[in-house]
Symmetry: C2
Subunit: 214 residues, 2 copies
């Protein structure tokens, strides 16, 4: 079982992720071509903040200050978002779907290595906010109406996954507790390689669901 320091790191990273997900969805909502699209994204943002609350409460009950637990992860997550500002509504939707999917896959893998109560909380906060079905529907319809945009969106998806990997490496390089959790949980480096393969396979499936080449 990992120690409390690793759990606090894990929950802190997730909590800051939810806060930034809120920001990103709230901002992208403004690019919506319709008021109902805008409301849909705003409601997803609201769900993320509910998840944030659960994580912050758990951190407090572990004796941690949520603000302090989140702080180490702010540079990497802010960096990811700064490097991947969507140029339009469709890029925002692809990012919501592909980015949330990557993050959820990664945290779900780690959740296998922690105590059952923490695992349950992680699975709850990673539950789909409805963005997946919404994004797939909107992006597929847009590509059907104008197939020429598929190439640009496929490139965008590849850029998202590249930035996500790069920022995850930064975090792991700096937070030994998380790296240990990951390597011990996966068993060895072969286990870690298998984990990365599962995550990239899921990513390719999500790109295909959007009608894009991975």
């Amino acid at each position: 079982m990992p120690d409390d320091a690793a759990l606090i790191d894990l929950l802190g990273a997730l909590a800051y992720g939810e806060l930034t997900a809120f920001d990103r969805l709230a901002e992208d909502a403004r690019m919506a071509p319709t008021l109902s699209g805008r409301a849909a994204l705003a409601q997803m943002a609201a769900v993320e903040i509910g998840h944030y609350r659960l994580l912050a409460d758990r951190l407090s009950s572990l004796g941690a200050v949520p603000e302090e637990a989140m702080a180490p992860f702010a540079p990497a997550l802010d960096g990811f978002h700064a490097m991947t500002v969507p140029a339009d509504w469709l890029e925002g939707l692809v990012k919501a779907y592909v980015g949330d999917g990557l993050a959820a896959d990664f945290y779900r893998e780690i959740a296998d290595y922690v105590d059952p109560a923490t695992r349950e909380l992680i699975i709850e906060v990673l539950s789909d906010t409805g963005s997946a079905a919404f994004a797939v529907r909107e992006v597929r319809a847009a590509i059907e109406a104008n197939p020429a945009i598929a190439g640009r969106l496929a490139l965008w998806g590849r850029r998202l996954v590249g930035e996500a990997i790069s920022q995850t490496q930064h975090v792991l390089a700096e937070r030994d507790s998380l790296t240990e959790l990951l390597v011990q949980g996966a068993g060895d480096l072969t286990g870690v390689a298998a984990l990365i393969t599962r995550i990239t396979d899921n990513h390719a499936e999500r790109m295909a669901a959007l009608g894009l080449d991975g």
Copy 2:
């Protein structure tokens, strides 16, 4: 009793108000000096979207399309926000508190003139999101730490009320159904004058609660 057209106008204006309140709180959250302040504002934004959902559902059950019911009120509400972009975190808090207060007072007055089910819904969606106590605490503490900012914030409060009145007049000039609801409800122009006095008295009380001259 007002007809359905007036009700749909009223609920449409409120619904668009909640959507823009979400936007504004989400945007102002980014100016928060601390992560906990940012989370607090983001959670208030989430509450507004819950209110939006209730209003949109009611509009649908009245046979209206929420998007169409909201559209007539977008220019005035967008105009209000465009004219009152907070320059910093404190201006954002004053706007959240004073602006929400003005809107809530206005709609609560109108709620007296509609059927009980609609009135109940309006009172529910106008319930304080927690922003009042939070804004009062933060603004008072900031003024205590630096009394020199009180003059600028008092001016800002007056600008907010001026813009709110101006945009309300635009809406009423264009939506006869709402004007009728207001005048018939208040009885006559003396009644309307009394209503305006109640709203401005409440505004002065809110400014005093912040530690500002109204």
